[in-house]
């Protein structure tokens, strides 16, 4: 059985009755915050009683008990990239995206720091900068989003989430190398072991209390270098009119162009061109791509002959793919 200290207060029935009309209107609507009741909110509890006193009903109020809701400090930082952010060697301003959430119940400035030099990765980005998503679209917009200012960190309302962007310049790293970059967000009021109290520093005059996150949070984003190269080799075979391989007028030269894309990236809009050598004549409709014939006209298919040379548009070719082009000329 619990024992409670007792004390009493008397409030007149008349005073209580005066309050009742306004009170009924305020009955509903509690703040529905994930973070809970807003810091600084006053909780006042007053009970009433009625009883019969010789035929009249008397109403009395209890003493009011007032509590103030302290500020909880909770910060969450999350990388929102779906995976490694691919970047090419030397690329400037490759973007990592994070969200920062104030999980507390009061407005709180969040101090952000970047560590681009994490151990255990392959390289470190250069010229790392941090931007705040000024227009709230979750995507980095150069010239629109604002550079993080450590002297004036962003203030997040309870439950508010903002996007922030880390921009880094890629060094001359090799294909497949990765870099880890860590973003840390910390409540400006303070952080530490959950339950740590910063007396009087809470929103609305109460204390600030470190919540379950410790009021600090970090997460990492990753750059991965995706590089690709095109290796082009050319070979020729000759078939003379006599079934041999001598280079005489009338001999047919078959050129084989082998285009190999290496690396883990994709090369876009590859077009292979080759001029027809002097003293030879292009053999009409002789272009093939991976063994399939292409027309000479500049049309929907990939091949074309413009009178001086052939071209084959390979489009976007993923690393690890090899395309083989052949065409023929006849020696004049």
């Amino acid at each position: 059985m619990l024992r409670y200290p007792r004390h009493f207060a008397r409030i007149s029935a008349a005073k209580a009755a005066l309050c009742s009309a306004a009170a009924l209107a305020a009955a509903m609507a509690s703040p529905a915050h994930a973070a809970g009741t807003l810091a600084g909110t006053s909780i006042v509890n007053t009970a009433q009683a009625t009883y019969d006193d010789g035929g009249t009903t008397v109403t009395i109020d209890s003493n009011p008990v007032a509590l103030i809701v302290d500020e909880i400090l909770d910060i969450a930082v999350t990388s929102t990239d779906p995976g490694d952010v691919s970047a090419s060697p030397g690329e400037a301003d490759a973007v990592l995206t994070f969200t920062v959430t104030n999980g507390g119940n009061g407005p709180e400035a969040v101090v952000l720091t970047i560590d681009p030099n994490m151990a255990g990765d392959d390289f470190d980005p250069d010229a790392v900068t941090l931007y705040i998503d000024a227009n709230g679209n979750g995507i980095y917009d150069a010239g629109v989003d604002t550079l993080y200012n450590a002297g004036s960190p962003p203030v997040l309302n309870p439950d508010e989430t903002i996007a922030v962007f880390i921009l880094g310049d890629m060094p001359a790293a090799a294909d497949g190398e990765r870099s880890e970059v860590e973003l840390t967000g910390t409540a400006a009021t303070g952080s530490g072991t959950p339950g740590t109290v910063f007396a009087g520093q809470g929103e609305g005059g109460g204390d600030a209390v470190v919540g379950s996150t410790g009021a600090t949070s970090d997460d990492s984003g990753f750059y991965a270098i995706f590089d690709a190269d095109l290796d082009l080799t050319k070979a020729a075979t000759v078939l003379d009119p006599f079934g041999g391989s001598t280079q005489v007028p009338g001999s047919i030269i078959t050129y084989t162009l082998t285009a190999e894309v290496t690396g883990s990236s994709t090369l876009n809009n590859i077009v292979i061109t080759d001029a027809v050598p002097s003293d030879t004549t292009y053999v009409a409709s002789s272009i093939t791509l991976d063994g399939s014939g292409l027309t000479d006209a500049t049309d929907a298919d990939a091949g074309a002959f413009d009178g001086t040379g052939i071209s084959v548009a390979l489009g976007n070719v993923a690393g690890g793919t090899t395309r083989v082009i052949e065409f023929q000329v006849v020696i004049d």
């Binding site: 619990l2 409670y4 200290p5 007792r6 004390h7 009493f8 207060a9 008397r10 409030i11 007149s12 029935a13 008349a14 005073k15 209580a16 009755a17 309050c19 009742s20 306004a22 009170a23 009924l24 305020a26 009955a27 509903m28 609507a29 509690s30 703040p31 915050h33 809970g36 009741t37 909110t41 909780i43 006042v44 509890n45 007053t46 009970a47 009433q48 009683a49 009625t50 009883y51 019969d52 006193d53 009903t57 008397v58 109403t59 009395i60 109020d61 209890s62 003493n63 009011p64 008990v65 007032a66 509590l67 103030i68 809701v69 302290d70 909880i72 119940n105 109460g206 204390d207 209390v209």
Partner: protein, 152 residues
């Protein structure tokens, strides 16, 4: 007869009327404190400050300061907006989920959502808790009513 009474009575100066019955309200924060030996002790402190999620114990103490019995005693506690009702150890409690208009057992109450659908009331919906004592309070008698809530 029972009638609606104030929900948010503000601080009013104590009057000199000689009420037969006095009602006091206290609020304690209930915390489970793990001791060094691994056991958990429930502590109650009288706070001035709370945080969301804190368990609160509300204690209403009534005392009949006269020698005469007092009949038809009811005690009503409107839930502060920021406190969600949880449970009570004091028998005979009735609840309101509509600002104190209709009282009944929580299991019998219905909440109408904004879109017009109805659902059974939950503890979170409670706006008022009320006790009506079946027996008069004896002369110089007293008692306590307690319930728990949690800071939203």
């Amino acid at each position: 007869m029972k009638f609606l009474i104030s929900l948010f009575a503000l601080l009013a100066p104590a009057a000199a009327l000689a009420n037969q019955v006095e009602l006091s309200s206290e609020v304690f924060v209930e915390r489970n404190v793990e001791q060094a030996d691994g056991t958990v002790t429930v502590t109650h402190t009288e706070p001035s400050q709370v945080v969301p999620g804190d368990s609160l114990v509300f204690v209403l103490t009534y005392r009949n300061s006269s020698a005469e019995p007092v009949a038809n005693f009811t005690a009503t506690n409107p839930m502060p907006d920021a406190v969600a009702y949880r449970d009570t150890d004091s028998p005979g409690a009735e609840f309101s989920v509509d600002g104190g208009t209709v009282f009944g057992l929580l299991a019998d109450l219905i909440v109408t959502e904004e879109d017009g659908t109805e659902r059974p009331a939950r503890a979170d919906d409670v706006t008022h808790i009320r006790w009506t004592l079946a027996e008069p309070i004896a002369g110089n008698g007293s008692g306590q009513l307690t319930f728990r809530g949690v800071v939203r």
